[in-house]
Each structure stands twice: as structure tokens, then as C-alpha cells.
Amino acid sequence: MGSLDPAFAGAGEIDGGPVVLDLRAVEFVEPAGLCGLAALLEFLIPRSEEVGIALAGRDVPAYLERMNFFRLFGDRIRTNADVASLEERRRHNPGTLQELINFHTEQEIPGIIERISEILENQGYRLRERVAICSVLSEICANAAEHGRSSFGAYAAVQAYHHIVSGPRRRGEEVLIAIADGGPGVRETLARNLALAEYTTTDNDALRHALEMGVSGTGEIGRGGGLALVAGIAARSGGSLSLRSGSGRVTVYENRKNSRHVPEFPGTFVRVSLPRTPQERSPQ
């Protein structure tokens, strides 16, 4: 999603006139970029006379089409991509586990999980892998539905790759899960719990604390366990969880946690990387 950072940085300065997102230099889009782009457009569309995106080549427009991007945004933005021809050439990509989906409530989540579980089973994912992927998706979707309430709800997408795309591209397999919502963000949510005042001084403080077991905006016992468990699932698989909200971003790996100051994100964004090990790929 890093390529969208200049757009996020400039989003706060738009004056109501037309806006064009120039994505012609983008060569690769993954679920994180897709969800980030969706959240950015949801921010820009109500604040601009017209929003356009400029794309180059065929791969990126074709990927956006396959992931349902134009179905969700086609009538709300202008683009130079020939969407009609992309629709005609549309082919299912077996790596697409969940196209870009927009949801608003917790009640929609079981249906999303049932569908992806069936796809994973048909593609030969072992039970343990299916449980990990579905647990991650259900927990982050539930967080978005509960804490990220906004006019547009949340966007999620899941994609499997036959190489590792997080960091330097290398051999292996990886499943990427991403979600973005337009809610108040982690810092504001945690700040509702006065007992957490010392942990909500900055966005990064709040993000780091939100990843601890049992930390929640309500302070109720039993709440605030989901993200910590998702981070644990990602770490055990050798992957990572990245949480971005406001001007903070924290990424958790098995043995370390990185924090970065980033351009303001209007809501909360989560990206989870789950590499697949050779043992996990063997038949059941």
C-alpha cells in the first residue's frame, strides 16, 4: 500500500475540485493496496467534484477487474482503463480467495467465512490452514464491523500467491489478507477507555497497545483478544500482521515489532501475511 502514501498525504488538502489518482507507475497490486485504494476513494469521493484513476498497462487494470474493483467503484469514478474489454476477458484466477468485498455488519461475516472456507477446501488447503485463514479473516472483519463503523463500512480481500510477495520476492507460497475501514481509528477507540490514557498519546502507542491481549475500548473482561490472537497466528506461520491507523503503523513479526510514522489513514487498516510451509502444502 506504500505507493498510495503520497495520495494519503495529499488527501487532507483537497478543495472540492476534481481529483485524479495517478497510478500509472504501479506494476503490482495486492489485497492491501486494493483495500487501501478503496478506503482512499471512499474518503475522496464525497469531498471531490469528480475522482478519476489513471492506470497503465494491462496487468493492474485486469487484476482490479478480477477483484471486483470496477464493479464496486465503476460508476463512481472515471478511469482511462477499458473496463468493458476487461469484463469480456475476465477469467477466474485460482489465487483469488476473496475478491474485494464491502460489508457493514457482523451478520454478514459468517457468509464471507463460509464462502472462503469452501474455496480453500476445494483448493486442497489443509484444515489447519483453513482454520488459520478463516480465524484471521473473521476476527479482523468483526473488529471492523464493531469499531470501524462508517458510511462505507469496510473493504476486505484475500489472495494466495505462488511466491512470497511480502518483502523481497522469493520462493514459497503466501496468503495475504487485508481489510480497511473508515471508522474512528484505533487511538480514538482505545481512548474511550480512560484506564488506557497513558497508551493513547500517539497513534503508534495506541496500535502497539491494541495488540496486547485483553486491551479494548470498553475495558470489558473477555474483550480485546482477537487482534492479539491474529498476531499470534501470523507469527507462528512465519508471517506478519501490520496494523495502520491515523499516522501510525505497527508491524508484528515472530521476534520483533516495528513502528513507523506514516501519512494519515482515514480509519483502520490491517494486513496479515500467512506464508505456507511445505508441510502445510502436502496432501491430507
Binding site: I113, E114, V131, A142, G222
Partner: protein, 190 residues
């Protein structure tokens, strides 16, 4: 040996909730309400077996809402002497149940199948583990005998066993003992 008590079995993957994929708090809430209804309808010292063996996935939100909150209510005495027992094999699915119970400083009795030897899921304070083990090894034991077995005075032993009874991990019976006194007997739940 402990008395044979009334029991009921609730299959989480069956019934109206159906399914192998149990996710979200709202689904958990619906399951908990059904469990509470079944629990309330049991005899006052009955046991409810919550059978999750047909479930493939139980996320943390579901586990906390359906089992964590229910275990918390049982521990608070809301259901009198009725007990909960989880029927589940030792597999990954238990991780979220374990996490929820630990968050709440609670524990549940777990069996692989009804009639199998029990184990614990969740958190039992270290100083209570030996007491719990001694009660389960005996099946049924008086406070005096348990105190002797553990090398504790009667009051300390009773305090530990009372805490285990409040967690819903053992039965506690009060019997009249001559002359005009009371005697506590502790029994395993399953």
C-alpha cells in the same frame, strides 16, 4: 464414588446454529442463549455437556461470547450447582476457548468424549491444582480426609475446595455431622 447426576448434551455443530464454522459474537450470543436455556432446565445439580466436536473453526469472539461468558455466569453462581463440561478433543480449536477462559481467570472441565477421563481447559491457580487432582483421584472425599491427604489444616483445605467449587470444577455437598456440626464432601463433576 460420586452420585450419578442428571445431565444433558448440547451439540454446538447441530441444531439451529448448525455448522462447522462458528464465528462472531452474535453467533456466539445465540449459542449461549440456547446453552443457558438448556442449563436452566437441568436438575439443580445437573451437568451440561457442551459438545463442540463437530465444529471446525471457533474464533475467539465466538468462544468468548458462547463459552467464556457462560463459564463466568456459572462461576458467579447464576446457575446454582449446575456444571458445564466441554466435550472436545485436544486440538487447535481449544486455543481460543483457552484464551477466553484465561482472560477471565476461569477454567472448565474437558473430556474427549462423555465418560472419558477429565482434564482442564483454562486457568486454575497453581495452589489449587493439587487440591483439584486429589479430589478427582478420590472421586468423593470429605474435607477432613482431603486436608489430611494434602497436609493442610481444615480451614485452608475448605477455602481451596470452595474456590474450586465456585469455578464449577467440583461438586461440594454439605452434610450434617454429629454433634450438630457440618461436614463438607467434595466430588468430581464427571
Amino acid at each position: 464414588m460420586p452420585e450419578e447426576r442428571a445431565h444433558a448434551v448440547f451439540e454446538v455443530a447441530g441444531g439451529d446454529f448448525g455448522g462447522k464454522l462458528m464465528v462472531t459474537r452474535s453467533t456466539g450470543r445465540a449459542v449461549r442463549e440456547a446453552l443457558e436455556e438448556t442449563l436452566a432446565a437441568l436438575a439443580k445439580d445437573g451437568t451440561l455437556y457442551v459438545d463442540t466436536r463437530g465444529v471446525e473453526l471457533m474464533d475467539y469472539s465466538f468462544a468468548d461470547e458462547a463459552l467464556g461468558i457462560l463459564a463466568s455466569r456459572v462461576a458467579s453462581g447464576e446457575y446454582g450447582d449446575r456444571h458445564l463440561v466441554l466435550v472436545e478433543e485436544d486440538r487447535d480449536l481449544l486455543e481460543n476457548v483457552e484464551a477466553s477462559l484465561r482472560q477471565r481467570s476461569l477454567a472448565m472441565i474437558r473430556v474427549d468424549k462423555i465418560g472419558a477421563e477429565p482434564s482442564i481447559v483454562g486457568e486454575v491457580p497453581d495452589h489449587l491444582v493439587a487440591t483439584l487432582q486429589a479430589i478427582y483421584d478420590s472421586g468423593s472425599i470429605t474435607n477432613a480426609a482431603l486436608a489430611t491427604k494434602l497436609g493442610l489444616n481444615h480451614t485452608a483445605c475448605n477455602n481451596r475446595a470452595t474456590r474450586l467449587a465456585k469455578l464449577g470444577l467440583i461438586h461440594r455437598r454439605i452434610e450434617t455431622a454429629a454433634p450438630g456440626g457440618r461436614q463438607y464432601t467434595y466430588e468430581r463433576v464427571v
